[in-house]
Amino acid sequence: MPDKDILTGPGYDAVRDKVTGRGMFGMDIVIDRMAHARLVRSPHPHARIVDIDSAAARAMPGVLCVVTGDDTSDLADPYYGVFLRDQPIIARDRVRHVGDPVAAVVAETEAQAFAAACAINIVYENLAPLPDIHSALAPDAIALFDEPTRGTNIPLGPLCRSVVDPAPNVLHEFHFGYGDIDSALASARHVFTDCFAMSRITHFHLEPHINIARWTGDRLEIWSCNQDPFLIRADIARIFGIATNRVRVHTPLVGGGFGGKSYCKMEPLVALMARKARRPVRLALGLDESLHTLTKHPGEIRLTSGIDGDGRLVARRADIILDGGAYCDASVLVGVKAAFRIGGPYRWRAICARSRVVRTTNIPSGSFRGFGGTQASWASERQIDLIVRRLGDDPVAFRSRNMLAPGEAFAPGDSGMDSDLSAGLDEMIRHLGPRCPGAGRGIAIGLKDAGGTGNQAQATVRVSQAGEVMVHAALVDIGQGAPAALCRIAAEALEMAFTSTSYAPIDTNHSPPDNGTHVSCGTMVTGQAVQRAALAVRQQIVDFLIEQTHCLEAEIDLTNWCVNRNGATASIEPIVRAHYGGIGWDFVGHGSFKEPYDQAAPLGARNLSWMPCWSGADVSVDRQTGAVTIHRLVVGGDAGRAIEPRTCRGQLEGAAMQALGQAMFEELRQDDGYPSNAEPLQYRIARAADVPEYFTSFVAEHGMGPGPGGAKGIGEAGILGVAAAIANAIADACGAEMMAMPFTPERVLSAIDQASPDVSK
């Protein structure tokens, strides 16, 4: 693919618009008579709301109304969350984390709303904070919720058990396993138990959450930067008790998501403000507010793994505790996936995994690129390396001996491994090259499922009389390049030029339904729907041309939009106009994809695909300061078939740098339950200068994915194995075993001291 495609392909509209500054993000949208909102947020991690005095604020210039929990009383259901709904759209009687929205001011201008928000006087009665999982699990801990959790338990398959509210301050408990764990562990030659901790990090999508809501009678329109407009439509309809066909969600260009814009966030509250103000209302959060909206799950993982005398993995018991923060959000699913994925890319006789999501007074944890798989891969790949060193084995040989073979089921009843794990490992090591002199080397193979279980999507492809293609789907582009990939899939199925395609704006009134940008499913799930829609419309065009011109199918050339017959070339456009009239006609094809449920599969449906992350790092450690220098970092994934190779590499490398950030320095810290760096200036993400001296990625194409031409997801892969690879390299370099992230110099130094006292003195 020539480089000039970057700016000339219609599928790259979004890329071009971002680069030139022409792109219209939610922030840029202006609606006639639009008013502006500002939230008043809790300064306390846990408190009862005693009184909200908004009289002074309401009397201030430009103020239209103030919305509080009282305004939610006539809603059909003022709570949201994925499966379990415990998050009020605005605090009702209690605040459960610093930044919990308590009141919302609507005014003519943003400045007036800001000024009035400062004039709202709220009296709180402080309650004991639950700053971490241990304080929340303490026997005498205060209950974060007085009532049972609303919602429905997640439906799963035979190897799983899911319990809602199993214990005080435990939102959800999940069990997954197969085989006889006790006898398998008893039969093992070696059994090792290790504990690992995960830090709390934030998505840091540069575009904060932006929403505009407008009511026209009982019809609601929302402009929202989100990853899943149809899920938001469903939430809004349920919350307001209105039909889904009265709710229209527009999703403009989105400035990054990484999971932070998955599922409902500010949308219902903005709709409520617009209803009360009787005006369109815009709420543009600051980046600091987005940092108080959602984080990645921190927590602890204890692994007990048994190995036989031949160096083969036998069984693993896992106890995973995730800090879910104040509200559920997507915690149930993250807990499920973390436990399910704990075995990694290996063959086990028995697995027994338990995950618990603990409620704390922290910023809610939820969807984050990797979705429990990063946490599981970190712990699993660290323990594999510890085991290898204890047994004096070789990190590559040990992994190769235990890896799943292509086609081998990840777990009984689930789909088979659709990557050649061994080939990927070889390729990664080739890219890593000879070890840097004096450096330690670490490798890791992260793994998560991709595409989801029971996932579904629909798509429409339209082709005009002139051969112009419009692809309609609700797969949101959050930087992963969905429009270009889907347009390329459509063009290929149509046998038409990529340059003739375009991706339609997303709007729930017109776009075909889609579960959204989750679980690296775009090319596999929406991609298959697009492919089917394109094939359907192609058939319509072929049938039409045969009927009109009595040509043979082989005489039709859609690439050049003509029929070649009897030595003559006839353009298709006049044929269409001759039949349908002067203004022409769009052929419209529809396609859908649904992964069927399967009651024999562990999660109630087979996972569509598997997403390995082959990672390797060479690092050196300054034994006197604990500073770690990453000399080489290689990350590889398997796209099955790379529809957009450059974009695949971009995804792998971006994800790897996000992982490097968490491994080396990123962390949302707190001080007695109060976030201490939840603001852009204090919170440090990776910068260009943090890119290792040698950093590369590779996109394997093992061709076994379920998507068009063997394609499969790759978007989350790069984040899965990198932290473990770096930690394994640190251990190789200096003996320091990092059990918690980030690997700050003082932590590394203290691990060096533990490993070999007196060396650093």
């Binding site: 006197q624 300061t625 500073a627 320095f665 943090d690 003082e746």
Partner: protein, 293 residues
């Protein structure tokens, strides 16, 4: 965020500026603004008046006077970085300036601004202390000279009266051929140093240290000159043992701890940086280069 309203003044001469600081209440002097502007935007400081020194050309200079080198308070850090005179005569300052923030901030930031802001980790302060430089302030009653050792009154508090302006700083270069090194440990380049060390050494032909300076930044509330360690070094053969002994004084500084960096780690780093600075300074002495056995 945006700063609160203030009145902006940009005097063209030092006399005007001094008149303004002497008469205006709650005024802050703006000299480069690489710290003050963020502090204004975050509303950590709420001045009624801002006196911007950027138009006062007489305050921006690097010049030799006698054997000394005088740098005007409004001299941009970038100009110091690129000065051949500084590189030749004040190698410690030349090396230290590269550790100050980033290229972009050095384009605007000034030496005077850094000295008056007095961050505990500021490389310029540590360098001035290492040189025993003389700071020059001007107030309504005239010029006052302040020894570097008297400059710091406390945490981020310079010895400058509310009606005075720091006009420059005067360095006395060390003899040609001396060794100098500035080393620093930060989480990432450009971050505030967790610990920094500045060292200068001279030696005799037998490899004995004849003069030594060692300053530690970032560890205490202000850069610390380790005079005892310096006295201990003079007369010693330069070797690992001598440097380690000096470094122990650095590790004994009462270190500040914060949420990110525990005090013990900071103190430990002070020792490591001291040792590295001394070894590096020694390796740079003309005709030496290696530690004596």
């Amino acid at each position: 965020m945006k700063p609160p309203a203030f009145s902006y003044h940009d005097p063209a001469t030092l006399a005007e500026a001094v008149a303004l600081v002497a008469t205006l209440d709650n005024a802050r002097v703006l000299s480069g603004g690489q710290s003050l502007m963020p502090m204004l935007n975050m509303r950590y400081v709420l001045p009624d008046h801002l006196i911007d020194l950027r138009r006062i050309s007489e305050l921006a200079h690097i010049r030799q006077s006698g054997g000394d080198i005088e740098i005007g308070g409004m001299t941009r850090q970038r100009d110091i970085e690129y000065s051949d005179l500084i590189a030749a005569k004040l190698p410690l300052l030349h090396e230290a300036i590269h550790w100050v923030g980033h290229r972009q901030t050095r384009n605007r930031g000034t030496i005077g601004g850094s000295l008056c802001h007095l961050d505990p980790a500021a490389e310029m302060v540590a360098t001035v202390v290492a040189f025993d430089a003389t700071l020059i302030a001007q107030g309504p009653s005239g010029v006052r000279e302040i020894a570097a050792s008297d400059w710091t009154l406390g945490y981020m508090t310079p010895s400058l009266a509310p009606d005075e302006i720091l006009t420059g700083v005067r360095f006395t270069p060390w003899p040609d051929g001396h060794g100098a090194a500035f080393v620093e440990f930060a989480r990432r380049h450009g971050d505030f140093a967790i610990a920094s060390a500045a060292a200068m050494l001279t030696a005799d032909g037998a490899g004995r240290i004849t003069r030594a300076v060692l300053t530690i930044g970032g560890v205490g509330p202000a850069p610390v000159r380790l005079t005892e360690a310096e006295q201990g070094l003079v007369g010693q053969l330069a070797n690992e043992t001598a440097f380690a002994a000096a470094a122990r004084h650095a590790a004994a500084i009462e270190a500040i701890g914060d949420a990110l960096v525990p005090a013990e780690y900071r103190a430990h780093l002070a020792g490591v940086m001291a040792k590295r600075a001394l070894a590096k300074a020694w390796s740079r002495i003309d005709g030496k280069g290696k530690l004596a056995a």
